[in-house]
């Protein structure tokens, strides 16, 4: 019997100083798995919500000119979200509603008209995507649809909507989201990862070998495939394995993919359960290789389950809400959520995307002229939208990528968590901003 796999000296050299420092940061840390106490050492540490809302920033990102309560006839926004099934993002809707509440209460809505959300949820079936599309088309009051991250129902939703109403995609996934007619993706999510992750791994982590682990959920496979292709295109070697989507046993895939011998580990974990399982396997294996995960893993649910967030690198196509943010966007988001979202609402995962998308929608509606909205005017305004997107890249440009014309940007920001609430901006800004 031998001990845990050791990296060869050559491999260690290749990983570079950044990787070594990451590994050093991880040594001795160890995750306190299985703790379920809310008052765990990392729970909410140093993250008390700001109490003052920066109204100026609110007006900038929402295009609002007024203030106070909106009183006119409501403007209805369609909101599609995936909720209630194996992949569920209820926080997206909660945050979107909080943004609408803030907009209506303090910024005069859109041109004095309050914003109303008509929500349609996709649980787990393609038929629900179709139903949501039909619901959006049948409601003549809806001129703009805001779409959450969907990994089921996307085809039928886009096939039904068919570009007849503009679709503001808050979280885009590989597939029809990137090329749907009259669709505008604010947040490229994993597609941003495809473009930016190889650059980050190559230039910042100096990685040459990457161990990828994904479950066999078709949506996640698609994400894994696109990121793998991007990394390989940059000359790095990727070993990828998949495991049954219902499994929380990640020791086997970790071992199968030779995680101990790679320069960096990249799990495609998009649900808290998968993130928690990954963290437990990472701890159990005793591996100290840097692990780069989606920012979706930096959630309160994960922190609650593990006692603290794992000491990983977290990527995000929006700013990390836990990390220091000199722009003030995160403080604004936290302050509004503290006032307008239900107590204890999840602030991470897809919540920032839902929040930012509603404010972006407001800006588009303002630009279209809120008094006489038509589908054509809103579509034109959406196409011309360049930001600034709250917590997003400083600039968006739709149509800049001919293969994926719906994407506004594919930029990503990377942070490393060092424990005790301390975060480091390891990418030193956005990577792969649109030109």
């Amino acid at each position: 019997m031998s001990a845990i796999p050791q990296r060869s000296p050559g491999t260690t050299r290749r990983s570079g100083l950044v990787a070594l420092s990451l590994a050093a940061g991880l040594i001795g840390g160890g995750l306190s798995a299985c703790a379920s106490d809310d008052s765990g050492p990392g729970a909410g540490r140093g993250e008390a919500a700001p109490t003052t809302i920066d109204g100026g920033l609110g007006r900038t990102v929402s295009g609002a000119a007024g203030s106070g309560k909106a009183t006119g006839a409501p403007i209805t926004l369609g909101l599609i979200n995936q909720q209630g099934g194996p992949v569920s993002n209820p926080e997206f809707t909660v945050a979107a509603q909080a943004a609408a509440g803030y907009l209506n209460a303090e910024l005069g809505g859109v041109g004095g008209r309050p914003v109303k959300l008509e929500v349609c949820n996709i649980v787990s079936a393609e038929s629900q995507g179709q139903r949501c599309g039909q619901q959006m088309l049948a409601n003549d009051e809806i001129e703009l649809v805001v779409q959450g991250g969907l990994n089921v129902g996307t085809q039928s939703f886009h096939a039904t909507l068919a570009g007849k109403k503009p679709d503001l995609i808050a979280v885009a996934n590989p597939g029809p989201d990137v090329s749907a007619k009259n669709a505008f993706a604010l947040n490229a999510s994993s597609l941003a990862g495809k473009a930016a992750t190889p650059i980050f791994l190559d230039t910042k982590l100096k990685a040459r070998t990457v161990a990828m682990i994904a479950d066999d959920n078709p949506g996640n496979q698609e994400i894994a495939k696109s990121i793998k292709e991007g990394i390989e295109a940059r000359g790095m070697t990727v070993k990828l394995t998949t495991y049954p989507s219902g499994s929380a046993d990640l020791m086997s895939p970790m071992t199968a993919v030779g995680a101990g011998n790679a320069d960096v580990i990249m799990p495609i974990a998009v649900t808290p359960t998968a993130c928690i399982a990954m963290a437990k396997a990472y701890e159990q294996s005793g591996i100290k290789i840097p692990l780069s995960a989606s920012g979706l893993c930096a959630s309160d649910t994960v922190r609650k389950a593990l006692g603290d967030l794992p000491k990983w690198i977290f990527s995000g196509s929006l700013l990390n809400i836990h990390a220091p943010d000199p722009t003030g966007h995160v403080a604004f988001y936290r302050a509004v959520m503290a006032r307008y979202a239900p107590k204890g609402a999840e602030l991470g995962i897809n919540a920032p995307a839902g929040f930012a998308a509603v404010l972006a929608a407001a800006k588009i509606l303002h630009a279209a002229g809120p008094d006489r909205l038509t589908v054509e005017k809103v579509s034109k305004a959406a196409r011309a939208y360049t930001g600034p997107l709250l917590m997003g890249p400083p600039k968006l440009r739709f149509g800049s990528n001919p293969q994926m014309p719906a994407l506004g940007a594919q930029a990503v920001h990377y942070y490393r968590y060092e424990g005790d609430g301390k975060w480091v901006d390891v990418s030193q800004g956005w990577i792969n901003l649109p030109s």
Partner: protein, 672 residues
């Protein structure tokens, strides 16, 4: 070699789950004579109960009372196992006890109803989102064979083996065990010896519930706690139980562990450079294909020697009267349907379109189960294949109407033929198990495959266009308010449904239909009358698959994509439940079943107009199936799996009365 051993050890975790479930299956089969496909659901119930107790709640159907704080690990484990045992006892008293005189296939279908019911209760309480299960066993990692093996794997393996040995000893040396074996081998003689098969069934099913629950609790931390994973773990467990001939606990334990090891080694092999990939990705669902192969091999190998408790029973299905009038009711219903498509609001119109497609799906079971008495758990797999062919032909060859749908339907029929070939050797309940494994394998290996499957987010399907007219749901139509779905697409679905109803009705009236009923009534009698029983079964399977091929084509055009989720095993289970509820042997039943299917008219009204979650439909389907199988007179009239094994039927009278002829105006007249 070290790596292979390492992965075998890592596979012991899921292997323990399969081993425990296989042992639970053996217990239920020994005690109640039932192949309980809800064993995985019982494990899931135990795991969720434990989860609830650790969260400070007691899990009850429709109630989740607060206990004032979480229970400790040990008391929560004990309480959860006791509650699982109670569930087993309840199932025996409320369901299995009523099926003692039923044929094995009826019992299997009842256990399908139980699976759906338990799953629905869990979905209604916890939703479909996975939870992180609380751990019971502790232990760090052990470094061996070049890797780290969590100690928990070895602990659960040891527990599975110890349980296997203990159960073997108990059934060999204790009075209870010997009595159970006696009742299993010959129930009539056991009764004459003063034993109570009913009491023994109760005890065995109670133990089976406790065992399944305990295994679920122990293994859930290695799986995600969700409504599907543990429930469908019954598929490899069935393979292990088949290897054990539903008799040996130790063999079941070892076979289950072997299935886990197989799964784990497959994971390892997929990372090797020489192993085939699919567009650079490991092939999903490979373990499910291996499980299918193991089950098929076990059935081929041990098919004739598997214990066929109740296999001697040859009662009949509900009446399948030949329709006297076809044209007039069809015309009336088509006229009503056409008006409905034009006047209904968009959501009910879509619900009606979904209902029409579901009616056709139910018709496939009218032919297969209602006319021939066979059960297939792969119906929606046929439909998915057909839809996928339509999609791929459109994407890669630009083929549309009429070739793509025709080829799609042909592919489904061909797959139906391939799927039924084992029927030459495997019958009835075992064939149903095989189709279950095939459906899971096709779903995960076929539809999810990045190369030839539906891809990550479904495979797109272009709208059907003829002479520039869009016939799909997104096409325009002067009536119907201008909102999708297009009434024209609904009218096409209505026409196809009417055509299929007429065809199935005529099939019943034809000579082929009469021969099918003859096979359904008695395979032996049919064979004696010169009817080719395998030929009739193969024909029925192919016709049934053909009909599901039509369903696949319409579904693909309906959604504009082929999503694997539409063609999963749970949908097939719900289809069986609702088709059986409506009336499995008559076209009227298919119409009722279609109304109740997910996304249909009833579901739309329930969800959009009453505000009840659609998950209640799953509960309704499960409960209805159990009630229908257990309470109606037809419950004891399911056809036998096949000729009784020599020496079994001559000693025992059939415990339920057998009607002289199938009811209906036209008795079966097999050809000489």
């Amino acid at each position: 070699m070290d790596q292979v051993i390492l992965f075998i050890l890592l596979g012991l975790g899921p292997g323990a789950l399969y081993a425990g479930l296989a042992q639970s299956l053996v217990l239920t089969h020994r005690g109640a004579g039932i192949i309980n496909v809800s064993a995985g659901a019982m494990a899931m119930w135990g795991a969720y109960t434990f989860y609830g107790l650790r969260e400070g709640h007691l899990l009850l159907p429709f109630f989740y009372p607060d206990l004032g704080g979480p229970l400790g690990v040990a008391p929560a484990f004990v309480v959860a196992v006791l509650l699982s045992a109670l569930l087993g006892a309840l199932i025996d008293v409320a369901v299995f006890a009523w099926l003692r005189g039923s044929a094995p296939l009826a019992k299997l279908v009842a256990s399908v109803g139980l699976l759906l019911t338990v799953q629905a209760v869990i979905v209604l309480r916890f939703g479909g989102t996975g939870q992180t299960a609380p751990p019971v066993l502790a232990g760090g990692g052990i470094h061996m064979f070049g890797g780290t093996v969590p100690a928990v794997r070895l602990e659960v393996m040891a527990i599975a083996v110890v349980i296997g040995v203990a159960l073997t000893a108990a059934y060999r040396y204790t009075r209870f065990g010997l009595a159970t074996r006696a009742a299993q081998e010959d129930e009539a003689e056991a009764v004459m010896s003063g034993l109570s098969p009913r009491g023994l069934s109760l005890l065995n099913t109670t133990f089976a519930g406790a065992l399944a629950g305990a295994v679920g609790i122990l293994v859930a931390p290695m799986t995600q706690l969700d409504p599907t994973t543990l429930a469908l773990a019954v598929v490899p467990a069935l393979g292990a139980a088949l290897i054990a001939r539903f008799t040996s606990f130790t063999v079941a334990a070892l076979a289950g562990l072997g299935m886990g090891a197989l799964q784990s080694v497959a994971l390892y092999l997929q990372t090797l450079s020489w192993f085939p990939t699919s567009k650079g990705l490991p092939m999903p669902g490979l373990p499910d294909v291996l499980f299918f192969i193991v089950i098929a091999a076990a059935l081929m190998w041990r098919g004739n020697s598997l214990p066929g408790r109740g296999g001697h029973i040859e009662p009949r299905l509900p009446p399948a009267p030949a329709p006297r009038r076809i044209a007039r009711p069809t015309a009336i219903l088509v006229a009503i349907g056409a008006v409905a498509l034009l006047v209904l609001p968009f959501d009910l119109r879509q619900g009606f379109v979904n209902t029409l497609i579901a009616v056709i799906a139910c018709l496939s079971l009218v032919v297969l189960t209602g006319y021939v008495g066979q059960v297939s758990l792969a119906q929606f797999a046929f439909a998915g294949l057909s839809g996928l062919v339509v999609s791929k032909l459109g994407i890669h060859l630009g083929l549309g109407l009429p070739w793509a749908p025709l080829l799609g339907i042909a592919a489904a029929a061909l797959f139906g033929l391939v799927d039924v070939l084992p029927a030459m050797r495997v019958r009835g309940v075992h064939l149903a198990i095989l189709t279950l494994a095939a459906a899971v394998a096709l779903q995960n290996f076929g539809f999810h495959n990045p190369s030839w499957g539906a891809g990550g987010l479904g495979s797109p399907v272009s709208s059907p266009v003829v002479f520039g007219v869009n016939l799909g749901p997104s096409g325009s139509f002067p009536l119907g308010g201008g909102h999708p779905p297009s009434p024209l697409f609904g009218l096409i679905c209505l026409a196809v449904t009417a055509l299929m109803c007429v065809a199935v009705a005529n099939l019943r009236r034809s000579g082929l239909g009469q021969r099918m009923l003859a096979v359904r009534s008695s395979e032996r009698a049919a064979a004696a009358a010169g009817i080719s029983v395998p030929g009739i079964k193969v024909t029925a399977f192919v016709i049934s698959a053909f009909i599901m091929g039509v369903v696949g084509v319409l579904t693909a055009y309906n959604f504009g994509s082929v999503d694997p989720a539409n063609f999963g095993i749970v949908n097939t289970l719900v289809l069986i439940a609702l088709a059986y509820l409506g009336g499995i042997s008559v076209i009227k039943g298919a119409l009722i079943g279609g109304m109740l299917m997910s996304g249909g008219v009833a579901a739309t009204i329930m969800e959009d107009y009453i505000g009840l979650p659609a998950d209640y439909l799953l509960l309704f389907a499960g409960v209805s199936l159990v009630l229908t199988v257990t309470t109606t007179p037809a419950a004891s009239r399911w056809p036998t799996a096949g000729p009784a094994r020599p020496g079994t039927d001559r000693r025992r009278p059939a415990p339920t009365p057998v009607e002289p002829e199938p009811a209906g105006p036209e008795p079966a007249r097999p050809r000489p």
